[in-house]
């Protein structure tokens, strides 16, 4: 037996394998991008069903008998392999699984599963297999039954297949027939006068023609010889519709009784056959030029993959289109989903207490005594004021603050959700990503989560304490002379009116160090936009009594207050991130950058290389 000329494919083999790997790797990304599913595309079938299994394996020629329901495919297959491998029954659409007849010894030499990708293979048991077989252990319902030719007459490199119908009410049959069509080299198209021009039949064979399959046409159930003259017209319609250039044309007379007995007769139609030879169909299949048919099928498959309008490049283009939409979605989110939270005025002693504690060891005796006197006096005044009802106790004030603060955070959460809702209405991509979350999410649980986080956040956290110490240390080191100022400046009353914005951000760190310290990696950013007014509103008791404005201290104090309020806002950011949105923001970010994924670039380069191999004209179209 002549060895198969591998040179034509050798160049592709590596590229095809790598391309398949890349496309497999890109599919999850494509799904999340919302790019079309490539598995429904012709190029995908050609690449994975034809090129990958055969480009580097022992070359066999696969011939499949295809056609509409009840056109006699099983009968024709049985006749061609001279054995009943698939039961032929009067009821339509009964062959539900392809049945392959292999030349002797092929099963031992070849990995059949790789030859027929997508199918769960089963060795032939009986003629009922094609009708009755259920899904395999892994649940794959697409089965392919195979058996080796027992007579030994089947040519050593020819595989013959009976396939399910392509137009019946069971759509999974169509799918299986398409898988076979992708994998085969030669198609025996079984047509009848009722079906040769049905749209479903035309579409199936048009795709086969486009992928470079060789086609032998068999007109079955012919009123022979009365309809012999009609066949030319039917064939002309068929070839014009599908682009099929048949290798040969045969007619099978309608003979119900003969068919029931499993006997049929192929009449070659030399007048419609290009080489004009009246050769028996089985002989023609056995004698046909395997190598050129194979090459033609492989090139056809590659051409489908490289097609600039419908091929793999087109699918890769959809990455760019989708990623662009995701970038727009990201822009919309960053611009629109930004909420300003008006936090209530902080109980001022919170920040001051921290500063006092830092200062304690640095203060002079006199200062401490004076301060103690102030504090005692202050306490006395405060007590009296509380008794007459002018001032509320510290605990009460903290409780009031906490209530108002929680209300502000809840308002902000509600605001946020509403903005996200609006953004989803304006952008379908966002709706796809966040819509389900916003609609199906348990909003009551979001608020409960916010309440829980807020309740468990101490007024002054350890993080914040550390932050204050570090800030003050740094300040003291940079301004040694200023420590005295601080001491004086501490007697300045300060009121913080903290407002923060919580925004969905994809890049950059949070503006406030305290928040950034523990909120690292959060995509929900907290920005401080508040203003701290130093030197106003000395309270009726305590440190404010001296009243002194120190412009130099302002930035420091501003930072200290800002850090504190940013930490309060972080509660909201955490709820938004952990409960409401999950990691969808990171996902949006990933998708927006999808077009620049290295796999996409590499796949494009491979496509260009393959096109160059296949021919200059195509290469020019594919390359971008």
């Amino acid at each position: 037996m002549a060895s198969f000329p591998r040179t034509g494919f050798a160049a592709w083999a590596g590229s095809v394998e790598e391309l398949c790997g890349l496309i497999d790797a890109l599919q999850p990304l494509a799904r999340s991008l919302g790019a079309p599913d490539p598995q429904a595309d012709e190029w995908y079938g050609s690449l994975f069903g034809k090129l990958r299994p055969q480009v580097s394996r022992e070359p066999v020629l696969v011939a499949a008998v295809c056609g509409g329901t009840n056109t006699g495919k099983s009968l024709i297959t049985n006749t061609l392999v001279a054995a009943e491998i698939s039961r032929s029954v009067p009821e339509a659409a009964r062959t539900r699984h392809p049945v392959a007849s292999l030349p002797q010894g092929l099963a031992a030499r070849t990995d059949l599963a790789a030859l027929f990708p997508g199918f769960a293979l089963a060795p032939w048991q009986s003629v009922q297999d094609a009708i009755d077989l259920g899904p395999d252990a892994s649940g794959n319902a697409d089965r392919l039954v195979w058996r080796e030719d027992s007579s030994g007459r089947q040519p050593a490199r020819l595989v013959l297949l009976d396939t399910p119908d392509i137009d019946g009410t069971l759509r999974e049959n169509w799918h299986r027939a398409e898988l076979v069509r992708n994998a085969c080299d030669v198609i025996v198209a079984v047509l009848t006068q009722q079906k040769y021009n049905d749209a479903a039949v035309r579409d199936f064979f048009a795709a086969a023609a486009a992928a470079g399959k060789a086609v032998v046409v068999v007109f079955n159930m012919i009123d022979w010889p009365r309809q012999r003259d009609r066949i030319g017209g039917w064939l002309a319609t068929f070839t014009a519709e599908t682009g099929v250039a048949p290798l040969a044309v045969y007619a099978v007379p309608h003979d119900f009784r003969a068919a029931e007995a499993g006997r049929i007769e192929f009449h070659p139609l030399p007048e419609l056959t290009p080489d004009g030879a009246a050769v028996d169909l089985a002989v023609r299949l056995a004698d046909c030029d395997f190598d050129s048919i194979k090459l033609q099928a492989m090139e056809g498959a590659l051409r489908v993959v490289l097609d600039p309008e419908t091929g793999a490049g087109c699918w890769l283009d959809s990455f760019e289109t989708s990623a662009k939409e995701w970038r727009e979605a990201r822009r919309l989110l960053t611009a629109e989903a930004r909420v300003r939270v008006e936090l209530p005025t902080a109980p001022r002693e919170i920040v001051w207490n921290e500063i006092w504690q830092w200062l304690e060891p640095r203060r002079s005796g006199l200062d401490l005594t004076v301060s103690k006197v102030y504090r005692v006096a202050g306490k006395g005044v405060s007590w009296a004021a509380r008794q007459v009802g002018l001032v509320r106790s510290e605990a009460e004030r903290r409780e009031d603050f906490s209530t108002v603060e929680l209300a502000a955070l809840k308002t902000a959460l509600g605001d946020f959700v509403e903005r996200l809702d609006d953004a989803c209405r304006r952008n379908p991509r966002l709706a796809a990503m966040l819509g389900a979350r916003l609609v199906d999410g348990d909003r009551a649980a979001w608020y409960a989560d916010l309440e829980r986080r807020h309740a468990s956040l101490p007024l002054v956290s350890e993080d914040y304490r550390t932050f204050v110490r570090n800030e003050l240390d740094r300040f003291a080191k940079e301004n040694p002379g200023m420590v005295q100022f601080i001491l004086t400046g501490l007697n300045v009353g300060a009121v913080a009116r903290p407002a923060i914005t919580v925004a969905l951000g994809m890049a950059g760190a949070a503006a406030v160090p305290a928040a950034a310290a523990s909120a690292g990696g959060l995509s929900v950013l907290v920005h401080h936009v508040g203003d701290v007014v130093v030197g106003t509103a000395a309270t009726i008791a305590g440190e404010g009594a001296l009243g002194l404005t120190m412009a130099g201290l302002k930035p420091l104090i501003e930072t200290l207050f800002a850090g504190w309020s940013a930490e309060r806002g972080r509660v909201l950011a955490e709820t938004l991130h952990d409960v409401v949105l999950g990691d969808r923001l990171e996902e949006i970010d990933r998708l927006a950058n999808a077009a620049t994924a290295p796999e996409v670039t590499r796949a494009r380069r491979l496509l260009v290389e393959c096109s160059r191999d296949l021919g200059r004209d195509m290469g020019r179209e594919v390359s971008r």
Binding site: A40, A92, A93, K195, A207, E309, V417, E418, D440
Partner: protein, 619 residues
């Protein structure tokens, strides 16, 4: 038969009653489908209804005109041959030269029948007349096939031939078919061994089968095996009821009929069935059953489309209830604590009550004096100007500020805008699940006009409820000291000291001074005595007030616990509650109409003959 006038409804066998109830059902369906146009699912139901209403209407108006039978099936199944056989001559081109054969539909009608009611133009049809007995009382339409037109638009994926035009690009048979079928009353589905499992044909038939009875015919009997059992199974799996499938050879029948020979059995049976099932009174039955089927099909479609929303609608109703409870809880807690905190105000009210009621006695006079002195004291602890304070201070509660001021007033009651927004946001989510949006429900944040309306109502209701509750509470407490015994005991105790002082003073003067000659005490004793009288008076006053005050907290508690029954917070969530009710009602109403329809079917359906129909619950 050939002209259309108002149809007489009176028929023997109680038809008027039945038809009235069907008319009523149709009327209710029309009302129901249009009853909630703001809800998208209900709008979809309405759109569906608008599709079928003209058909129901026409069927009722043209109850006794002859039936239009559409002959449909895949190309090559012998539709035209069968039509020719039935018409008794070659009216419609048939044959095997090229597929498809029939492009424009052919209408076969008895001679002299007025066809002005048939939209022949819209159908792109050619009308031919026939004298054949088989078509003497029906209009037969030879329809184009559904399976030679490419799936439009031709998908660009995959085929390298996409750029070149194909002959089939000009094939619009399926579109032609879809223009013809709406005019048909009955479908005659023709198929062969090769075509009875065709997906395209099945899809087209399923689209037009609702409300149209069917006859099933297997042709090519002389060539093909008998596949009727398998076809029946296939049809039943698609949801059809298939009482009978005819099997015949149309070519042979046409030949025999052209030659004037007796038709064979299969063809004869079909002709007889047409006569028995589609002509005269049977035609009325076909139309009526078709209408009932169509209404049933519409109801099933609606139920199916509404089914996934039942859960969300119920969840929304439950959500409204739970959010309402939450808001009421917040309001109750805050109102309770505020009422409890206003100790002085209660004191003043209760004191006022006692003072107002007790007159005449010395103790009463004492109370009045104390009260008038206290009245000079400034009311220093009026904790803010909130609604509760105003109510407890006896001011009218009708000065309710509008807009954001309204919110402030509500927040003084302890119900913050944030809490209300939280509830509304939660309900917004639930509404979206039930596909409810504006204008049926509002947004989470109430806008100015809504705030004015809802907050105003809330404040009014709360004020009315609170003031009546406070009145009741005060009246109840007043009852405790209003009794004469308690009052006389107080008077007696106070008067006792007074009398004792007077007696002692009298004794000192008359006995001690005048009789025993002791020195007069002077004013000292009286001053002392006055102090004691005042202290005693305050002590009694304290006892009396304590009696009124005791248990006030638990009374406030029980007052507040009745707050949920007052539905004070309802206006805040009113739009969601109304939407939940309306949607639930819409779904319930649909269920009720389905039951009505089933009852009507049970009453009206006559044992069907050879006609099949779409049951609806396919696969």
């Amino acid at each position: 038969m050939n002209d259309q006038q108002a149809q007489p409804r009176e028929q023997p066998g109680g038809e008027p009653v039945d038809f009235t109830s069907f008319d009523e059902l149709v009327e209710m369906l029309a009302r129901w489908s249009g009853s909630l146009p703001e809800w998208p699912p209900a709008r979809a139901v309405r759109a569906e209804w608008e599709q079928i209403e003209p058909r129901l209407d026409r069927a009722r108006r043209e109850l006794s005109r002859m039936l239009v039978v559409g002959v449909i099936g895949g190309t090559g199944t012998g539709k035209s041959t069968l039509v020719n056989a039935l018409a008794g001559c070659d009216l419609s081109p048939a044959g095997d030269i090229a597929r498809p054969t029939t492009i424009n539909p052919v209408v076969v009608a008895p001679r002299d029948v007025d066809l002005s009611w048939l939209p022949v133009e819209a159908m792109n049809a050619r009308v031919v007349r026939s004298d054949a007995a088989a078509v003497a009382n029906i209009v037969l339409v030879d329809c184009p096939d559904p399976d030679t037109q490419a799936e439009a638009p031709r998908h660009s994926g995959g085929q390298a031939t996409h750029s070149s035009a194909r002959p089939s690009d000009s094939n619009h048979n399926r579109e032609l078919l879809e223009a013809v079928l709406p005019a048909c009353d009955v479908l005659l589905l023709v198929s062969t061994a090769q075509k009875y499992r065709s997906w395209v044909v099945a899809r087209e038939v399923a689209a037009f089968a609702p409300g149209r009875p069917l006859l099933f015919v297997q042709t090519h009997a002389s060539r093909d095996p008998d596949i009727r059992d398998d076809w029946r199974r296939e049809l039943e799996s698609q949801g059809f009821v298939v009482p009978r499938i005819f099997r015949l050879d149309a070519v042979e029948a046409a030949t025999r009929s052209a030659a004037g020979l007796e038709p064979d059995a299969g063809f004869r049976e079909l002709v007889e069935a047409i006569d028995a099932e589609l002509v005269g009174r049977a035609a009325r039955r076909v139309r009526r059953t078709g209408s009932l089927d169509l209404a049933g099909w519409f109801l099933r479609q609606s139920q199916e489309s509404l089914a996934p929303l039942r859960g969300p609608v119920a969840q929304l109703a439950a959500g409204v209830a739970s959010e309402r409870t939450r808001l009421e809880g917040i309001l109750a807690r805050a109102v309770g604590s505020r009422l409890r905190a206003s100790r002085t105000a209660w004191q003043r009210i209760l004191t006022g009550e006692i003072v107002e009621r007790w007159h005449g006695g010395p103790f009463a006079s004492f109370l009045h004096v104390v009260e008038s002195i206290i009245a000079f004291w400034p009311r220093m602890r009026a904790a803010g100007g909130g609604l509760i304070t105003r109510l407890l201070a006896g001011q009218p509660a009708d000065m309710i500020p509008a807009g954001q001021g309204g919110w402030q007033a509500v927040e003084e009651l302890g119900l913050s805008a944030a809490e209300v927004e939280q509830s509304r946001s939660v309900l917004c989510g639930l509404s979206a699940r039930a596909r409810l949006a504006e204008p049926l429900v509002g947004r989470a944040r109430l806008d100015e006009s809504r705030v004015a309306a809802t907050v105003g109502t809330l404040l009014e209701r709360t004020a009315a409820w609170l003031s009546s509750g406070i009145d009741r509470l005060v009246a109840d407490r007043r009852g405790r000291i209003d009794g004469p015994v308690f009052r006389w005991v107080c008077e007696a105790l106070f008067s006792g000291l007074l009398v004792a002082v007077l007696v002692r003073a009298g004794w000192n003067f008359f006995v001690g001074h005048l009789w025993q000659g002791r020195v007069v005490d002077g004013g000292g004793f009286l001053q002392e005595a006055l102090v004691w009288v005042i202290l005693w008076g305050f002590f009694l006053r304290w006892i009396a007030f304590a009696r009124v005050r005791v248990g006030l907290n638990s009374d406030i508690q029980s007052l507040v616990s009745r707050l949920p029954q007052a539905h004070l917070t309802d206006p805040l969530l009113a739009d969601f509650a109304a939407a939940a009710d309306a949607t639930a009602l819409f779904i319930d109403h649909g269920d009720r109409l389905s039951r009505d329809h089933e009852g009507l079917v049970a009453r009206l359906t006559e044992p069907g003959g050879d006609l099949g129909h779409l049951r609806g619950d396919s696969r």
